[in-house]
Amino acid sequence: MARQGKQEILEGATAVAHAVARCRPEVVAAYPITPQTHISEELSTIVADGELDAEFVKVESEFGAASVVLGASAAGVRAYTATSSQGLMLMAEVLWNMAGMRLPVVLACANRSVSAPLSIWCDHQDAESIRDCGVIQIYAEDAQEACDQHVIAFKVAEDRRVLLPVMVNLDGFLLTHVFEPVELPDQAITDKFLGKYEAAFKLDIDNPMSFGCFTEPDKCMEGRWMIHDAALRSLGVIEEVSANFLKAFGRNAGGHLEEYKSKDADTILIAKGSICGTIKDVIDQARDKGRKVGLVRIKTFRPFPRAALLAALRGAKQIAVIEKGGSFGAGGVVTPEVKEVLYDAGLHIPVSGFCVQIGGREVPADGIAEIIERVSKGEKQTAYEWFRLKKELLPDLVPND
């Protein structure tokens, strides 16, 4: 099935920039931020070299970048931006506007920890903290998938049944700065796959229209419901576009979930992003020892693929959710959503949540093995555990239980 195209050894961010260029956005605006910078830098080179006929706007901030692409999209062209961490925080207000105006902007987030304390390394708290704004969120495991998901992102965003921004998440440094073999999306196939962009709604004097208008309480709720409805509808569209992508490109990059050895598994791990590579290795080792362990990797996080997740988890005896973030004062972010899916289906499968990585601290394979071991043994369900927290670093005022 897999089409054997030309593979190149490319840095993740560079590869993403070239994949984006092949989607032919007409306006790109970005502000440098580690570890995203190489995506926008490479795009500026591609534009300067005349390989992409686009406006590249060197704006003063991420707030400006998001606003430029909002305007470009409202004016009826395909638009793209990329950011990370603090930059995404600064874009947040604009992202709510983009979703509300139903603009099919595509952006990348090189996932990085949010200040303070200041950290440039990877976790998922940046993207998760804008979870509720109506932007579709998909997560890549490797550079190839990050490239392919950009093509899928434009197709899904621009689908008339959706018309929402789509954010492709790729782990900062772990994917942006690592060199991997990548087959860039073929230009001719990409052109055919995406088609020439025709905006569903745009600013046009022959057909006057306004975006983001003031609403009274009698209408606002319905406008917001339409965002929710479109996001839910995008679940089917993502499946459809992913299937078409597989047919066109010969690579399986989309979909909501990847089910890795989970069909007959007693213990199922759930995670998203590049950590899944490590988890799969550990699962292989556990399988060699006869352990029935599997992974369900979340690729689509918003909208939350409830039905697919329920089907994937139904047979599990116990579940461990491995996260790179959390909601301070509450617990996990993904963990409670998994529990909700199971609870609503009347299933009482124990679910333990583990925060394994904040600010770039790596969880090695033995950490994943430990979680599998503990959960498989039927250890009492944990609400949300900050895994391997260095208690010796905590000041005395924190109870050291």
Partner: protein
């Protein structure tokens, strides 16, 4: 290293920590850090000074200065400094920013802090490039200058002209002292030190806003050697950003 018979004439200021530098060879940040430390020592203000570190190359500034320092979101540094100063008007409060921090993402903040006449001192390092993220175009990048986002040189058609921060702020009523200096010959460095001193004095005595813009070398991302970078400032930057007192109503 001690040398027999030699007498130490000048040492490390007490307020400057013995930290290994993370700055590139020929970078101007270290010089300005030292100047600040010297002034704090000379005036005996080590326990009375609060500094604001920027986001940019000087993000780790608190590792070099032995005073209280605070980080802020990118570009919001002068507003955070204004908040500190309003809460503790007795302290010497300075904001230290680069051109990405002050003239790009934080342009709104610097204008409004200056316009309100917040009694803080702003030290503005202008090296015409984004250093921390690897040499992209800044608002202060000079026309024709090659950066990673302007590989063919900054074009004024699509990217505009360099922003002159001192001249921009000089149109406001409240700032009382705005000077642009250069990190070049020793006498220029002395002039820079005197300008920062004056800015601190303006804050303490006149309770007014002031800013010192310092043209500073970035050999790494200008792709020139440290010694040639001084010439680079003279040839390229000073034409766009003329050094001197831009506004002074202290007299």
């Amino acid at each position: 290293m001690e040398v027999a018979g030699a007498k130490l004439k000048i040492g490390r200021p007490r307020s400057l920590l013995a930290a290994r530098t993370h700055y590139c060879a020929g970078c101007g940040h270290g010089v300005v850090h030292r100047i600040i430390a010297e002034i704090i020592d000379e005036w005996g203000l080590r326990g009375q000074t609060i500094g604001m570190a920027p986001v940019g190359c000087a993000v780790l500034m608190y590792q070099y200065l032995d005073i209280d320092m605070c980080e802020s979101p990118h570009g919001r540094t002068p507003e955070v400094a204004a908040g500190i100063k309003r809460a503790r008007p007795d302290k010497l409060v300075f904001s230290y920013q680069g051109d990405g921090d002050l003239a790009a993402i934080g342009m709104g903040e610097i204008i409004h802090v200056a316009n309100r006449g917040e009694p803080i001192s702003v030290i503005f390092i202008n090296n015409a490039i984004y250093g921390m993220t690897g040499g992209q175009m800044a608002p202060t990048t000079v026309p024709g200058q090659k950066t990673t986002t302007t590989p063919q040189g900054r074009s004024v058609t699509g990217e505009g002209f360099p922003i002159r921060v001192c001249e921009l702020l000089a149109t406001l009523e409240k700032p009382v002292y705005l000077e642009r200096t250069v990190l070049g010959a020793p006498k220029e460095i002395t002039r820079t030190k005197n300008a920062i001193k004056k800015s601190f004095r303006v804050q303490r005595e006149l309770k007014a806003f002031s800013l010192v813009e310092i043209l500073s070398p970035c050999p790494t991302y200008w792709r020139v050697s440290p010694d040639k970078s001084v010439k680079y400032i003279e040839t390229w930057m000073e034409k766009i950003f003329p050094p001197g007192v831009i506004k002074d109503t202290t007299k």
